[in-house]
């Protein structure tokens, strides 16, 4: 069986990412929790997370940590994402990829909450 696997391209990518990392400093300011339970996955959570990653990369904003939030018991609101920023946990429900992009641009990067999509907000 012929095996295909070239890592050379990835080494170049590493150097590029390293360069853009050294241009920045400091800890992650924002944390995004994405739920990846059965209901969320069926509702498009994977595409939502891909849109988030794409938007972060486009806007060159990397001071963010993305973690899995597990199922939050909010099945009818899935896909759900939680943005942790400025001491608040803001939960968005029924998120679709285009919404996720706006959440990244306005809330994650600029700290402006998009109230009409918020389903819960707590102090951290």
């Amino acid at each position: 069986m012929a095996k295909i696997n070239s890592l050379d391209e990835l080494r170049k990518l590493r150097d590029q990412a390293k360069e853009s990392m050294t241009a920045r400093s400091g800890e992650a300011k924002v944390r995004i929790r994405a739920s990846m339970g059965t209901v969320g996955i069926a509702g498009g959570a994977r595409e939502v997370l891909k849109a988030i990653i794409d938007e972060l990369e486009k806007r060159n904003f990397h001071e963010v940590e993305i973690i899995e939030g597990g199922s939050m018991g909010l099945d009818k609101e899935e896909p759900v994402i939680v943005v942790e920023r400025d001491g608040f946990q803001t939960t968005y429900g029924k998120v679709q990829p285009e919404m996720a992009r706006q959440i990244v641009a306005q809330h994650v990067i600029n700290g402006q909450i998009i109230s009409e999509w918020v389903i819960a907000r707590n102090k951290q």
């Binding site: 696997n5 339970g37 997370l49 993305i66």
Partner: protein, 186 residues
């Protein structure tokens, strides 16, 4: 689920929640040698006892015990059997779980494989601490990549960095296309 790659992601998440530190996904697509599409997920999570395994595929007796598993498996099993395929699940408490599903590749009712690259990417994006091995076999060719190999390449740059993730997506897509060799599998 609309596509098998989403079922695969769902099962991978089960492995994560079972506390696995190592998960191996093998995807096999054969059209030339045989008419077969299958996938296998092996993990070293907490595992399940026989009673739990037996009850997994019964959607009616498991409503309370399978809260963490859901209806995904019984439905997928039904789809596999409809497509002249089947499924197997072996598990041992404290050792891990191995689950496989297979289908007749050309069966008219087989769900599409869908976007396997995005499913793999999710493991790097939100579970980069897990040693995830992805093996993809297409007839006589195969591709394999593991989290530890990637970490060796990227060293101090985290693999869940957005720039790295986008590069990995391109890398996975290129390798997939090479595996298919211009032919249509899906």
């Amino acid at each position: 689920m609309k596509e098998l790659s989403l079922n695969i992601l769902d099962i991978l998440e089960n492995s994560v929640h079972a506390g696995a530190t190592r998960i191996h996904l093998t995807l096999q697509e054969y059209l030339e040698t045989k008419d077969f599409l299958g996938f296998r997920i092996e993990d070293n999570g907490i595992g399940m006892d026989q009673a739990m395994v037996d009850s997994l595929f019964d959607p009616f007796t498991t409503t309370s015990t399978t809260k963490t598993v859901g209806l995904g498996l019984p439905l997928l099993k039904q789809e596999a059997e409809m497509c002249h395929g089947g499924c197997e699940l072996e598990s041992q408490p404290g050792v891990g779980t191995k689950v496989s599903f297979w289908f007749q590749h050309t069966h008219i009712d087989r769900p599409p494989l869908g976007d396997i690259v995005s499913t793999v990417l999710m493991m790097y994006a939100i579970h980069s601490d897990i040693e995830f091995i992805f093996t993809h076999e297409v007839d006589n060719n195969s591709f394999e990549i593991s989290t530890s190999e990637l970490k060796e390449v990227f060293q101090d740059v985290p693999i869940n960095n957005p720039k790295i993730l986008q590069g990995l997506e391109t890398f996975l897509l290129e390798n997939k296309n090479q595996l298919y060799g211009g032919k249509h599998y899906g």
